[in-house]
């Protein structure tokens, strides 16, 4: 049963009541309607439709420090407001009152006779005659000093929170930028383009990439994805990025570079936070005999690179068996070698792209997937680095909020030699 009745409470004084109660009730009757109006614990005010004050109670006069004659017949309600309040009254309060017949709980400030301000909450209703025509406006005024002080405090706190959030976003964006190369180096005979899609402005993501010169005539490139997000992931991202650069100088063999990173990340592991990443590292050398570049790719658990060939075909370059970097003391690293011929484009990506939800706006849970990306590549080939990255950016735009993880893409392309265009 949801509720009890009075009878069940066993109240002995229920019904006619005691003599005491009757006395108290009589005292209530003494509270005349007139006195109830004049000395009510809120201000009462009646105005004509144009706002002219025609009746006001003693409580409000006391609050404002006016005599009745100062207001009745002399002032408009809006004249009691601050100028800013009057603007609000004219643009919001009055139109609403006309349209709805009532307005409730509007925060305004009244000017008292001595020039001080009284924060109030105002509610008004329109009283209509028997023919339905509006006659006058009745207004109640509640002293809202305490409440407004509290609300001002809330507003201040909200503003502060907004500013903090903005600061955090700026910090995250700045940090993100430091994790990416400001510009990619110019590799003679290679067209390069990259894009980093930030899924959340509040958090630093863990994707990274770089392209940099090694010994004369060779270049290193990598693209990876650290497990997790936020400051902890950013620290690993930074460590991974600089370790890869340094390791490549020490021994440019791609498998050795990733093995070194694996060792470093394993040393970093403190037993609580998992510190691992997937990464693909490539060593580029110009192929002087055939033109284009020879690339050795090593992968540690990373999605395979996509090769978009000059002849219009496209395929993934599988690196099976490559294990996550940073988990096992001796992670297996898979390598593959390819020849990037003139007209070919190689695309590296992080799984933010293939894991993106398609039709997210209509509640779709389906993910984009590896097959769709392969089809996308097949439709695109032959292409260039900038065209590939441009197409990926458009693709990401169509996913909208469906891209819930950061996404990094890096494309390299060997331009055809002049005169080869018609092949």
């Amino acid at each position: 049963m949801m509720c009890t009745t009075d009878d069940e409470d066993g109240n002995p004084e229920r019904g006619e009541g005691s003599a005491d109660e009757r006395d108290r009730f009589a005292a209530l009757l003494e509270d005349s309607v007139e006195d109830l109006y004049e000395r009510a614990p809120c201000g009462y005010l009646s105005t004509m439709l144009d706002g002219r004050i025609v009746k006001v109670n003693a409580t409000l006069l006391d609050w404002l420090g006016y005599r009745r004659g100062d207001l009745v017949g002399h002032k408009h309600f809006s004249e009691l407001l601050t100028v800013g309040g009057r603007l609000y009254h004219e643009t919001h309060f009055a139109p609403l009152l006309r349209m709805q017949g009532e307005v409730s709980g509007i925060a305004l400030e009244l000017k008292t006779a001595n020039g001080s301000r009284l924060p109030v909450l105002v509610t008004s209703t329109v009283k209509s005659g028997s023919d339905g025509q509006p006659l006058l406006i009745r207004t109640t005024v509640f002293d809202a000093r305490d409440r407004r002080a509290y609300e001002t405090e809330l507003l201040r706190a909200r503003r502060e929170a907004d500013q903090e959030r903005e600061r955090l976003q700026q910090l995250a964006a700045t940090l993100q930028q430091t994790l990416l190369p400001p510009t990619l180096v110019n590799v003679p005979g290679l067209d390069v383009s990259a894009y980093y899609h930030i899924a959340s402005v509040d958090e630093v993501g863990g994707d990274f990439y770089d392209l940099f010169p090694l010994s004369a005539g060779t270049w290193g490139l990598f693209l990876g994805d650290v497990c997790g997000k936020g400051a902890a992931a950013a620290a690993i991202t930074s460590l991974a990025r600089y370790t890869l650069r340094a390791a490549a100088v020490y021994d440019p063999d791609p498998a050795a570079v990733l093995a070194n990173l694996n060792t470093v990340l394993n040393h970093e592991y403190n037993g609580t936070d998992p510190r691992f990443c997937t990464v693909v590292f490539g060593l580029l050398t110009p192929d002087l005999d055939r033109g284009g570049f020879h690339i050795t790719l090593a992968s540690g658990g990373h999605p395979p690179a996509l090769l978009l060939r000059a002849d219009g075909t496209a395929d993934y370059l599988p690196t099976p068996g490559g294990q996550l970097i940073g988990v096992l003391p001796d992670a297996h690293i898979a390598t593959t070698g390819i020849h990037l011929a003139p007209g070919d484009t190689l695309l590296l990506h992080t799984d933010g792209l293939t894991e993106a939800h398609i039709n997210a706006t209509v509640g779709g849970a389906e993910r984009y997937g590896d097959d769709a990306l392969l089809d996308f590549g097949r439709a695109l080939a032959p292409t260039t680095a900038s065209a590939t990255i441009g197409a990926i950016r458009e693709l990401l735009d169509t996913f909208g909020t469906g891209v819930d993880d950061d996404t990094a893409v890096l494309a390299i392309h060997v331009p055809r030699l002049p005169g080869d265009e018609q092949e």
């Binding site: 144009d50 706002g51 601050t82 643009t91 919001h92 139109p95 349209m99 809330l154």
Partner: protein, 270 residues
């Protein structure tokens, strides 16, 4: 999204071919402000009402700070609406800040307008002591208004945001909310308040080349009589009338008188 749905345009009254009256609401509320004058105008005109982006049932996602930080964005919208409606030259009735949108739009594309009705207009709300111009307000007053806005938007994000974002699992929000005619995102309201009260369009008035009716109210706390006289003096082909209506919203305070003034003017300039 097309301009007509973006601005929640409604077209009523006589079919295409009749003279067109386009009613633009000012700062504060939405197209509902016109609902008492629309029935009278529908008898003789095609009547177009709309919500400015950010107000009423307009597409809030179309709002961006850059476009709507000056009257220009709103003027663009008005001209786009005219083009999409393709109803021929319209008599544009602009209330309050929308009066200046009408002025700017008519200066840019006079052919789109048969006439302008400037209802309780003000080209500049803030006084300019250097030139002796009296707009009626000081910069401090405008700051105070922004505070009033803030104070009354405390509950906004809690109650209005779910409605606007569409929340089928909370049907109680489907009912029209108290004060909803005048509710909008506080960020949008703040920017629109600045545009409204800090713009200065005094020099644009002299460029107007379409017939113009300046209709001011008696006892308007927002646009005092000298401002109406100023607007009239600056616009070459203009006529000034003072409505008996008091306050800043004659379309609510005296709908018959307001509709009659609009109809007489729009009927004559067709």
């Amino acid at each position: 999204m097309d301009a007509l749905s973006r601005n929640h345009v409604r077209v009523t009254g006589l079919a295409a071919g009749a003279p067109v009256v386009m009613l633009a609401h000012g700062f504060g509320c939405d197209q509902n402000l016109w609902r008492l004058v629309v029935p009278a105008l529908e008898r003789d005109f095609t009547v177009v009402v709309f919500d400015h982006v950010g107000a009423g049932k307009s597409d809030l996602s179309a709002w961006n700070r850059e476009r709507y930080s000056s009257l220009e964005g709103y003027v663009e919208d008005v001209l786009e609406l005219c083009r999409e409606l393709a109803l021929g030259p319209v008599t544009f009735v602009g209330h309050s800040v929308s009066a200046m949108m009408g002025v700017l739009a008519a200066v840019r594309e006079p052919a789109a307008f048969a006439g302008l009705v400037l209802l309780a207009p003000s080209p500049r709300f803030v006084d300019e002591p250097a030139t002796g111009y009296r707009g009626g307000f000081s910069a401090d007053d405008i700051r105070e208004l922004l505070e009033s806005l803030e104070a009354n938007y405390l509950g906004w994000s809690g109650t209005m945001a779910p409605v606007i974002m569409g929340n089928p699992d909370r049907p109680e929000l489907g009912e029209e909310l108290t004060n909803s005619f005048c509710s909008t995102d506080p960020d949008i309201a703040r920017v629109f308040a600045r545009v409204t009260f800090l713009s200065d369009n005094r020099t644009d008035l002299a460029e107007v080349r379409v017939p113009t009716l300046v209709a001011q109210c008696s006892n308007d706390a927002i646009a005092p009589p000298e401002v109406g006289a100023f607007v009239h003096a600056q616009i070459p082909e203009s006529r000034l009338i003072t409505l008996n209506a008091t306050g800043h919203c004659p379309q609510l305070a005296a709908p018959e008188e307001t509709a009659a003034a609009i109809a007489a003017f729009a009927g004559a300039v067709r």
